[in-house]
Amino acid sequence: MSDASIDQSKSIPSVTDDFGTAGDYIELLKPRVMSLVVFTGLSGLVCAPGTIHPVIAFVALLCIAVGAGASGALNMWFDADIDARMERTKGRPIPTGRVTPEGALAFGTTLSIASVLIMGLMVNVVAGILLAVTIAFYVFVYTMWLKRSTPQNIVIGGAAGAFPPMIGWAAVTGSVSLESIALFAIIFMWTPPHFWALAMFRSEDYRAVNVPMLPVVAGNAETRRQILLYSVLLMPITALPVYFGFAGAIYALTAFMGGAVFLALAFTIWRRGDADVEFKLAKRLFAFSILYLFLLFAVLIVEQGLGAFIPIAGLVS
């Protein structure tokens, strides 16, 4: 064998060039998304009937956080090509070269498997299965299949983000019930108006990388109509926790007032179609939608966890 045939330096860089810091790897976990996921997961834990040991509850939340983060890392690994060309995502660890795609894949896969196994073994099997379904749905169904193939990507893919309260609920009860499905439905129906508002003012980014978001495929007028439609559908669903009796008067008031503002913003976007203000309105709806979801679940936690539950007569069994 000649010297020329043993150019081992070419096989080394994929390993040695991964100089990502701990902070770069944490960035792969999408910490901001993770915090909202943990928060909604906590609401499921707190609202579920029954008791759970605080240590086991902590493990459940940790697994939800790590599982959500791991699916975020796998999403960044798969979408690195389009992330590099989008304004919003071009600064992520893989496009900037701080973490190699192989490093992100290994990191995401390891954490996914570990979080599911630990959830299944230390909390319960149902919660472990639900976490596995959540990760698989986000990575395989949303990221790899729907995102680049249909404008309904975030409608169906939104299910992945809606699972955490169900997982939290299952961690306590070991089962799936109508109440936990109600919490799932709130996030599921909230996702389209939230993401379409974002897609409206980021549509050029999505168009440039051929991701068929609704504003790119159907235009802003149709997107505004769909935002209003899903916002209207969301309102009765936010009342379900009151109907099932695990939310009280403070939640009802918050859902009603927050819902009124949400609807007003969606209606304004739909009615005022002029291009000069629609981006501004979309940004406003996007920002408020985050606050709205946070408030709904915060109130659920306060009512059930801190003893602020005021029952609504006639509705509570």
Binding site: I6, I12, T21, H53, V55, I56, T96
Partner: protein, 68 residues
């Protein structure tokens, strides 16, 4: 991406050929050391967590057995 500086570093033992190996700058080494430290801390935390969960799970059984 930070480029590793590579120099010719002949490996004499067990090797018939001179191969290129990367030379890490002090900054790269510091970054690797920091990452390894965080990883070690995470592993220690995981051991602690596993221990706590074991105590919680077994503790419940001890209470049940004593009650019997």
């Amino acid at each position: 991406m930070t480029e590793a500086k590579k120099t010719k570093a002949p490996l004499e033992i067990g090797s018939h050929h001179a191969i290129e190996t990367p030379v890490w700058t002090p900054e790269m080494l510091a970054r690797r050391r920091k990452r390894a430290t965080y990883l070690a801390l995470a592993l220690i935390a995981m051991v602690g967590l596993f221990f706590a969960v074991t105590v919680v799970k077994i503790g419940g059984n001890i209470v049940v057995e004593r009650a019997l």
